[in-house]
Structures are given as structure tokens and as C-alpha cells.
Amino acid sequence: MRLRIEKMNFLGYKRLDGKVGVRNHVLIIPSVACANEICNAIALKMKGTVSIPHQHGCAQLAFDAEQTARTLIGVGKNPNVAAVLVIGLGCEVVNSSMVASKIAESGKPVKNLVIQEAGGSPKTIKEGIKIAKALVSYASKLKREKAKPDSLILGVECGGSDACSGLAANPALGVTSDLLIKEGGTIILSETTESIGAEHILARRAINKKVREKIFEIIKRTEMRALNLGLDIGKANPAPGNYEGGITTLEEKSLGCVMKGGSTKVMGVVEYSEIPTKKGLVLMDTPGHDAESMTGLIAGGTQIIAFTTGRGNPLGSPIAPVIKIASNSYLYSKMKDNMDINAGEIVTGKKTIQEVGESIYREVFRVANGKLTKSEICGHREFAINRIGPSF
């Protein structure tokens, strides 16, 4: 494949841990659902802040609470975040001061408030606004500096797929992935459910035996979760709209899905919300549920997400710009307010997969430089932590 494109750099926010942000958010994290509305109240009031309400943080079994904590810490450490305020209730499992101190290891300013210590909601909100004011003031003084593509982690996601996703948008995004990896960057391919039936393709490209075995392990684990219940994944994934769009089986969806990762070696496999230590193509074990998958990606340090869709999906992320790529021209014109790039011209023969892949690559750098994506402009900030156990 031809991989010739002009050298791209971008201006980003250099963090103390050496990572580079493409956005500069002050993040307000509830360590438990009990703090959600207080975090929302502060974020609503203070410019430059964003809160990430969720349903977790307490009455969770150890392995599940650990995953919630890892996710909140990972999102706080993400280089798109300049500073953090963590708010807890005081009696929760996912303790807010633990979350705050782990995020502080990245060197960014992190503050912690506890509702039971502050004396209730109004007092916590009042104190939180005061802290947020100082953090926003700090963040606003940071300047963008020249950065290289090897500091980028691009998450590749697909949602609301149709048959054109596997024929146009996903292979084009695969070209983008190959281009970024060639420049030393990292691609995280997630959605394990949507690799079932395509694992042999990924395993063939594993860098070593350990990675190959891990690929088979995460796929078997996901498939067995349905089989052990005696249930059919096909009732949940593919979704009704996938079937309507021409996808017949999970295997067909998966074979189209994994094309987003391009054609390079698989360098590693990480757990949900785990920060990869390898560059190049990395797999993350997430469900096909897009909001949960994207939350795992941003906790893993992804600064930008490229998201293909055939049926039309508006999802965004609280801290990462999400670039929406339409797989067909009908969707692109129908939902133009949500779509950034049209890969539909591949289907009509007007453009090649290579050309669209290059245009996504250039868009990644425009967005890294500060261009807002449609998901950001439309205010999409969906955040959902993957749950692996029941509440108790």
C-alpha cells in the first residue's frame, strides 16, 4: 500500500509527565454516584470545566470497584485534562482521596473534596466553585507548543454500523491507522465483541506468542460470557439497525470492524481502561457498547477518537474530540450536523479508500490543533463505565 503523505505536526499542551494534550479541560470527577449532582452543579457554573457523572463507585465487588477506580484515575490522568477536582461522599468504596492521589502522580494539580466533611451539598458546591476557579485560572495560562505525531494515541471506534462500514469507512480509517503508526503514534482498537469471528486476522498479526494468546483469551472470555448464560449475542449485537443496514451476522460485523486498526503488527493487548505501554497498534478489551468503549479508550490515554458510523451515531466524549466518519453519502447529508467526514464517496467510486484515509489523517491533526469536531460543537459528552459485576 502507498503511504506517502506530507509530514504532520501539531500544537499541543505538554504535561509534566511528558504526555501531550490536544484539549485543556478542568475535570470534575465524582468518585461515587452520590457526588454526581454536586459535580454537575460546579461544572455548570464554571467555564472550562467538565463533570463526568456515572452510576458507580459503591456497593461494587472488589474486581468491579477496581475497574471503576482504574477508569476514573485514567480519565483524570489523560493529557487532555489540565487539572482535576475529585469529589467523594466519604463512605464510598472508590475513595475520592485515593483517586485524587493516583491522578496527582501525573504531576497535574489535583484537589479533593468530601461531602460529609464539607458539611453537605451547598457547602461542597461553594467550596468546589472556589477550587474550580483557581484550577481554570491555572489551565488558562498554559500555552500550546509544537508536538510530534508520536505523542498521539488515536482510538478507533465504530457504532451504528451498516454494510458500508466494512466496505468504506473502516478500511479508510485503517489507512489512517497505518499512517499514524508509521509516524510513531499509537492506535487503540477496542470492542472485543466485534472482533468475534475476526480474531484469526488479528492473531496472525500479533508481535509475539504472548500477544497472540492474549488476543484469543479476551475474545474467548467475551464469547463465553454469552455462552455460559446460554444466550445468543446476536440478540444484542449486531443491533437491529445493523441488520437493517445489511449486516447479517456478528462475524460479518467483526470482519468489517477490525479493519479500523489497519494492517500493522498488534503490539499489545490491554485491559479495559488500562494505559498501554507499547506504541503502534494496541487492542483494548472493551464491550461493543460505544459509550463504555470510548470511556475505556480515554481512560487509556486516548486524546482523539475516530468513529465510523453507517446508521448515524451522535456520541461524543467529555474530554476527547470524536471525529465522526459517515460510511455512506446518504447518512452524511442526512446527519451533516453530526458528521465530520464522508467516506460514502468510496462506495460511489468517487474516491479511493486511500484518499479518504489520508483525509481522515489530516483531519486528526486539524482537530489536534484545536479544530472542534461536530460531537464537541453539539455538546456530546457521553460517559459510561463498563460494569463487570452486579451491585450489592
Partner: protein, 99 residues
């Protein structure tokens, strides 16, 4: 009879199905090669699959050069290939276990 038109996407030479790149009406003549043509036996929606050859009952459906499922009845060339005549083979439990 409609004219032979280019409105299919064939992903891989091994495939026994192709994807309609525009909606196909019943009777549409499709040129696979200069010699080989098939006729759409029924309406095929945009993005959906058409059989390029006979696929026996229980036989594999091949797209991207890979097996994407098996047929639940014989499919004739030109027929619409979808959930009414094909099933996936992965992640499918056979009813909740008892006890």
C-alpha cells in the same frame, strides 16, 4: 430486461456474495465479468448481499474471503442473502442451561 450495470461491490475473489452499492430491482442484470452475469431474483436493498452462485443448505457464506455464517436453506444465484436464510455461528447459546 434491465441493462447490465455496475452496482455491486465484490470484496474478495473467493466471495460467494456481493454487496449492492445501490438498491437492485428484481430482474436487474449484473455483470460480474465480461462473460459472467447474474440476474437479481428479488429486490436487494442498498448495502445488502446478493448470492453470486448456488450455496447449498448449511453451506458457508463467504465475504471478505472469510466465513461469515452458514445458510439455513439452499440459496440460488441472484437471491437476497440475509437473516432469513443465513445464521451466524459465533456467540450463540442454545437456550438457558437448566439446573
Amino acid at each position: 430486461m434491465s441493462k447490465a450495470i455496475k452496482n455491486l461491490i465484490l470484496c474478495h475473489p473467493k466471495d460467494n456474495v456481493a454487496t449492492a452499492s445501490s438498491p437492485l430491482n428484481t430482474g436487474t442484470l449484473l455483470s460480474l465479468t465480461e462473460q459472467k452475469t447474474i440476474v437479481a431474483k428479488e429486490q436487494i436493498p442498498f448495502g445488502h448481499k446478493i448470492a453470486l452462485q448456488k450455496i447449498r443448505k448449511g453451506g458457508p457464506v463467504i465475504k471478505y474471503g472469510e466465513r461469515i455464517g452458514r445458510t439455513i436453506r439452499e440459496i440460488k444465484p441472484g437471491e437476497w442473502v440475509h437473516i432469513h436464510n443465513v445464521v451466524g455461528e459465533r456467540g450463540r447459546g442454545k437456550g438457558r442451561k437448566k439446573g
